[in-house]
Subunit: 428 residues, 2 copies
């Protein structure tokens, strides 16, 4: 007997037939003697429809009313799944965010979960009743509905799992696990059996969008064992007859749960084309100059990622002062606002030209193994250099090395690195 | 300054453009210095969509979960109207059924409103904030969402108006008032300026479906002045420029509000084709025989309307016992269940044949004036008889006379009665 939280995304909830398939999957866990809470997303497309209504009603919509509108999508699917479960003989009821309640802060449209009250929820689970909980929603002080921001249902599931001390949080999605890299680029990419929270955080933050980043951070903090697996493998039988087993997915766990022998130096390779490179030329090489660049960006709430400052050289202006070029990256979506902020600060910074380029990609190799193993970065640079791929910028963390390259070389870089780090699957 | 409840139906809320028109109408009342609460329906078609989902998930859906699903429709429109009001500078917020709360009993899917808590609501209204309240929904003991049954938003509006002691409850709908009869049948039908609660109840119960019957009963009990008027007359200007005045609708009020001189003998003529006639032949003419017929129907929760027992005659069976025919009407939708119940009780009742006919119509003349004026019924029978219209059954109440006729003669009967009672509008 285990206590399990199961989470199903919008594609799994898109229409009654699919909701029936979900119900059959839940029944299997119940029949195996488990206590089950299910967290559901809205039907695929529904949240977009509701967000569209709000935007059409007013570009500057009140986020409190936006939350009233968009939370309805998950309310609908939670009631429907409860009905579908009852129809196959599984006791079930829905628990809306305000009913449990799921307490959040008052950051409407992007709220964070505080505590989840579990007395009624646990009493239900222990009596054998499946709890169906709409993801993405909670309630703030003053009894107003909040939502957690797009993708928030993953975070809801992990938060519920932490609150009820679940043995496992199974996230059913449209991929069947976490891979060493994007299988569309490298057909010999392997599905990982296990990945650590830290690695998953780095992978999620650099473009491997299996889970909302915040949900991984919460799982790490609360030590929730998360499994990513597919909604669509394994036959579903609405009548309750045995289904083919779901293929095992990827477990996201603490480092101590991964055996020494299982550990790879590098766990995965991610790529992210949503970066933009900005270069300021002829920035005066004097104290405070760099601060003058990044202060206006911080004030505009823009995250700067990689930064390179070139070696100072004599200014072209002919004077004796030396100058330098400063290059950095920002999210591509923030490029227009970044350029505006920098141009407004032109006087204070005193740069020459403002150059930008969105045809760049960030390639990251991630693995907890590199903590105890030198040479990962140099192997990366050598491998890319041998294929003539030019590195525009570098950044590193304890378990990640990222390089910025030209966008056109993304697939080539991922493939050669995947091979170089020994990640290619054996050919049968 | 007045306190006004405005209610808008699904057609008025169908899409953001129409919601903007509603917002402009609300702004007009606010600009006139009134305190305004708005009760809204779901977008036209949305409740059907959500009910369809529930039925598809299970024919025997749990009404508690059904209420979670279908209440989402009004939740969405209440948030959207609040956003649309704010966009034109009108302070507004939504108040969901569980937030006010609107307390109901636990008859899920067909709940009745108990009390509505008004402290927060009144504080908002008095501060100049428009309250947007989703119709059709409330909350039962144990904090579970309830809905009031189809058309329940009218009842919500009247209940809110009673709770906040509103000066008026304006029901905006797709007709512009209550008419002396269906204008599609009688082009010279007149819009009534005023109608009493009692008359409106009789008209609503015999097919003039402008308002949900229950809402009229509640308005009468709570003495809420209700106005029925059109959403679609009067030009709407989203920019907030003056709109052409809404044409006055029909006020539904207590009898004392209608001047002696305004009173007509007959207020209106309604027709209803949703009845079915059942005849049992050769029922034994003995004590308890009629009770044996209607007990199984009552047990099946079927409302019997008109009843005629023919004069007893000698049974064809040749014995000395006399027998009689019994004819009555039931809602056409209940005909199959009625026949089944009667056939099952065949032994106990002891009838000859079971004959039914759905090609019948009930024509009703309604008016509080007939209380003090004899001859209304006989004028009806004479008028119909002169045109050769055969009367199959008769029933009367204090302010209504109804006859059952052949369905094909419905329009003819309505037209000749409309003229006979002097209801035809003057031709300009």
């Amino acid at each position: 007997m285990a206590r399990i939280v199961m989470k199903f995304g919008g594609t799994s909830m898109a229409g009654i037939e699919r909701i029936r398939t979900v119900a059959a999957r839940v029944k299997r866990e119940v029949d195996a003697g488990n206590e089950v809470a299910v967290v559901v997303s809205a039907m695929a497309g529904e949240t977009d429809r509701l967000v569209g209504f709000c935007r059409e009603a007013s570009a500057l919509y009140d986020p409190r009313e936006y939350d009233v509108v968009v939370s309805a999508g998950e309310q609908i699917t939670s009631g429907l799944l409860a009905i579908a479960l009852q129809a196959i003989g599984v006791p079930a009821r829905s628990w809306l965010g305000w009913q449990l309640p799921v307490h959040t802060d008052e950051a409407f449209a992007k709220a964070r979960i505080g505590t989840i009250e579990t007395d009624a929820l646990l009493a239900g689970l222990m009596s054998g009743e499946v709890a169906v909980i709409p993801g993405f929603q909670g309630v703030a002080e003053g009894n107003r509905i909040t939502t957690l921001g797009r993708g928030g249902s993953d975070t809801s599931a992990v938060a519920v799992a932490a609150a009820v001390k679940a043995d496992r949080c199974d996230i059913y999605t449209d991929v069947d696990g976490v891979y060493t890299t994007d299988p569309r680029i490298v057909p010999r990419a392997r599905k990982l059996k296990k990945v650590t929270y830290e690695e998953m955080l780095e992978l999620a933050s650099v473009g491997a969008k299996v889970l909302q980043t915040r949900s991984v951070g919460l799982a790490m903090k609360e030590q929730v064992r998360v499994q990513v697996l597919s909604s669509f493998t394994g036959g579903a039988d609405v009548e309750g007859a045995p289904m083919a087993d779901t293929l095992p997915g990827t477990m996201i766990v603490g480092e101590e749960e991964i055996d020494e022998v299982e550990r790879q130096l590098i766990t995965g390779i991610a790529h992210d084309k949503n970066e933009a490179k900005i270069t300021l030329t002829a920035v005066p090489d004097k104290p405070g100059a760099v601060a003058a660049i990044f202060e206006p960006l911080a004030a505009a709430n823009i995250n700067v990622d990689m930064i390179i400052q070139n070696i100072a050289h004599q200014s072209n202006g002919g004077g004796s002062a030396s100058a330098t070029d400063v290059t950095f990256t920002v999210p591509a979506a923030d490029l227009p606002r970044s350029l505006e902020a920098l141009n407004q600060a032109r006087e204070a910074i005193g740069f020459g030209d403002l150059i930008h380029d969105t045809r760049v990609a960030k390639i990251s190799v991630v693995g907890v193994g590199m903590r105890s193993h030198a040479g990962v970065a140099s192997q990366m640079f050598t491998t890319l250099g041998q294929r003539g791929i030019n590195i525009l910028a570098i950044s590193t963390s304890e378990i990640k090395v990222s390089v910025l390259i030209h966008e056109d070389e993304t697939e080539l870089a991922v493939r050669v690195l995947h091979t170089a780090y020994g990640l290619d699957a054996e050919v049968a």
